[in-house]
Symmetry: C2
Subunit: 194 residues, 2 copies
DNA sequence: TTTTTTGTTGATTGACGAGTCAATAAACTT
DNA sequence: AAGTTTATTGACTCGTCAATCAACAAAAAA
């Protein structure tokens, strides 16, 4: 049975299963067996490919983060003007790929993981830094000295909307969620429109 | 040694210890022994007063929530006018009593708990509902039909700022945090000033 | 003063779960 | 063909921890 070249396939399956299970259970208290089972293999194999459960968590985080990054980059290439780019970044945060139950649940739990695991904290900081500089790049020409606080505020709204969504039930409404953040943006920009 | 009337004292000590330990460890993976030790008693006694660990968590949540509620109510009695009351509510969220490391850490983890434990979810919903109606009461006269979305947005900023604070290190700066939320409020209200 | 209630803990139980190991087998290398 | 690497798992170890129990002590009630 052993076909060679399984490693990337197994790893990808495990990463996906990790995210799904964390989202399903709603906490980091998922067993390696649960994850492995969902990924269609034994827990021993999971340990074989990832040294530890923590490694699995970190890989899952990196995966979500890189999907997120790709989505933002993609949105940016299609956007024009400072304001357009701002909107694009905000919208990307609530795109169909990112703003899903399981992913939202995973985010929340990664935040908790970052309290304990330095590596996880670092990853989250990288994400925050990127979001921040993306926003600042377009915000500075529009808001000058106040750009920093606006970026901070926008970031907080986005994270807050994610957090609150985790408490709701039913399918997330990305459009509505994005509306809350865009609303903030519009109102702030109005102060500089002329 | 057994002095009568220990129950409330022991329970209070446990609740306090629970919050501190969750904040310190940064997750819900605290053992009953850890909590009991910090509260100065055996784990058996902790189980004697609270039936289970989950009960302890819920009691800790209720405690934080009631402190929070008291703080908001207090701030409201001293505030004048719709705008004043709005600011008071926002500020209360970042008061010295609420916006502390351990409490912030506990909040984050209670949010996670709410994913799993229905009782915890209910408690969090009650808090959200109160915040919402407090904001709406003062927002409606100022923003009319848009009051709902503003309340939603303001709530998201507040939660977002809490969330982000959990990632930072060092003593939380309540003033700066409140500034982010107030900034949002001011900007939105400007749209209705005349 | 007996009895009951309240406070308290050390020791134990029972379950669960991360990580390891030994064994098996297919696929490549030489 | 012999040897090595890669894939795969069932069984096992070892630790941890929530929850319970048995036992002891002091206070309050009878």
């Amino acid at each position: 049975m052993p076909k060679v070249g399984m490693e990337p396939i197994r790893k990808a399956a495990l990463v996906k299963a990790t995210i799904v299970e964390i989202g399903r259970v709603g906490s980091l208290d998922v067993t390696v067996s649960q994850i492995a089972k969902r990924a269609g293999m034994s827990s021993a194999l999971a340990h074989h490919y990832f040294g530890s459960k923590e490694d699995m968590f970190l890989a899952a985080m990196r995966h979500i983060l890189s999907l997120y990054g790709a989505e933002v980059r993609g949105a940016l290439t299609a956007a024009h003007g400072h304001e357009g780019r701002l909107r694009a970044v905000v919208l990307a945060n609530f795109s169909a790929g990112n703003f899903r139950r399981e992913v939202i649940g995973a985010w929340l739990n990664f935040w908790v993981l970052a309290q304990t695991v330095p590596q996880a904290r670092r990853l989250l900081r990288v994400y925050q830094g990127r979001l921040r500089s993306n926003l600042l790049a377009s915000l500075r020409p529009l808001a000058g000295a106040r750009a920093t606080e606006l970026a901070e505020g926008l970031g907080a709204v986005i994270d807050g909307v994610y957090l609150r969504e985790a408490l709701k039930s039913g399918a997330p409404d990305g459009r509505a969620a994005a509306g809350v953040a865009l609303n903030y943006l519009n109102s702030q920009l109005k102060d500089f429109s002329k």
